[in-house]
Amino acid sequence: MGLNKEQIARRIAQELKDGFYVNLGIGIPTLVANYIPEGVDVVLQSENGLLGMGPFPFEGEEDADLINAGKQTITTIPGSAFFDSAMSFGMIRAGKVDLTVLGAMEVADNGDIANWKIPGKMVKGMGGAMDLVAAAKNIIVAMQHTNPKGESKLLPKCTLPITGIKCVRKVVTDLGVFDITDEGFKLLEYAPGVTVDEIKAKTAGRLVIADDVKEITV
């Protein structure tokens, strides 16, 4: 039951508006690019220095000088532009990127996010995650509602080292769509086949249910 990864991506893609500049993180967020609605023109930013990221190259056409922030080979689209890393994060910091979608290990009901470090495990670094969450003006988190042990990832307070404070605006999980509000997570939509009671049971943070809560359409 609940949404699969593609459906989570598809639901997030509904948040895209014509003219948006969008930064997509690694994992589920990357899939959002596959579901951009008809008639909606968005430009993808890759924080390693590209506006106008296109799809993966055809086999044999990979260019070592053309990768995304996940170090995958990519292509450009007409109208793309390259720039250095300072300008790339400069435009994020200045609020020019309309939407950032990223994954998370934990989200707190005040919008705190943890997604870079697990104590006791090898620390690989925060990459651009701290910059993105601190500076982006609109952040949607795409993640599973619970961890492999079945524990809620929507918490009253992050238990892992945090990446940024009070920055997440919206969370889309396999179970539902939530806004971050002063009252905590606000359930806007539930996945087909999932009950509000199940979501209540699996959400550790403060949860309120929108008056007009409805089923997700993807």
């Binding site: 924080e47 055809f58 170090k71 890393s85 690989k124 910059d131």
Partner: protein
């Protein structure tokens, strides 16, 4: 104006053990392959390396790690590198993690003669520990210092004998910022051209920032994640 060097060995000849180096590149994209090979060959050690990543086990800065030439890494993401992990966990290697945009901007600050900048990244996290926090227009910022480096080592696509540099695609990344930040900047280029061949409107790093330049050889330009789609 003798900026042109014969090759990597000559260009890096006076880098001493214990130096602080900036190394351009994002992952394996745009890394100074020739200079890294020369540094490995020369065997200088005790180096502090400022670089977004630390290469992989058998390529990039990973080659310097294999030879235990690196004392400290300042990076944003150190990814998949078993030897790196081993040295870090054993305490042989000191590691400082810096958010990616902060890393870039601290390089830029150095090249622009700005001693410190105010950045959002890391506010409220462990990155903020010990740092000055200052509020502007209702938002908290961390004060971050410009990086200090003895040598900046970058790889460009084209360069001329005056040291003007042009980068290709996303191989640009941190390299122009580091090139502007080095006390001594060494640029290896895929194509070294006579002055006058580069369009003066399209220079990414003006030659004033570049002290040494040479045409590199045998670029492998390894791809870290080969992702493709099928035709049709």
């Amino acid at each position: 104006m003798k900026k042109v060097f014969a090759g990597a060995d000559e260009a890096i000849h006076d880098i001493p053990s214990g130096a602080t180096l900036m190394l351009g590149g994002f992952g394996l994209c745009g890394i100074p392959e020739n200079c890294i090979a020369a540094i490995v060959k020369k065997g200088i050690n005790n180096l502090t390396c400022i670089s977004n990543n630390a290469g992989v086990d058998d390529f990039g800065i990973g080659l310097m790690l294999q030879q235990r030439q690196v004392k400290k890494m300042i990076s944003s993401y150190v990814g998949e590198n078993a030897e790196f992990e081993r040295q870090m966990l054993s305490g042989e290697l000191e590691v400082e993690m810096v958010p990616q945009g902060t890393l870039a901007t601290r390089c830029m600050a150095a090249g622009y003669g700005m001693p410190a900048v105010f950045l959002l990244a890391g506010i409220g996290t462990e990155v903020a520990e010990g740092k000055e926090v200052r509020n502007f227009n209702g938002k908290d910022y961390l004060m971050e210092y410009a990086f200090d480096s003895d040598f900046a080592i970058v790889k460009a696509w084209k360069g001329d004998t005056q040291g003007n540099l042009i980068f290709n695609g996303t191989a640009r990344n941190f390299s122009p910022l580091m090139a502007m930040a080095g006390k001594i900047t060494i640029a290896e280029v895929e194509h070294l051209v006579p002055v006058g061949e580069l369009d003066p409107n399209s220079i990414h790093v003006p030659g004033i920032y570049v002290h040494r330049i040479f045409e590199g050889k045998n670029y492998e330009k390894r791809i870290e994640q080969r992702t493709v789609r099928k035709k049709g």
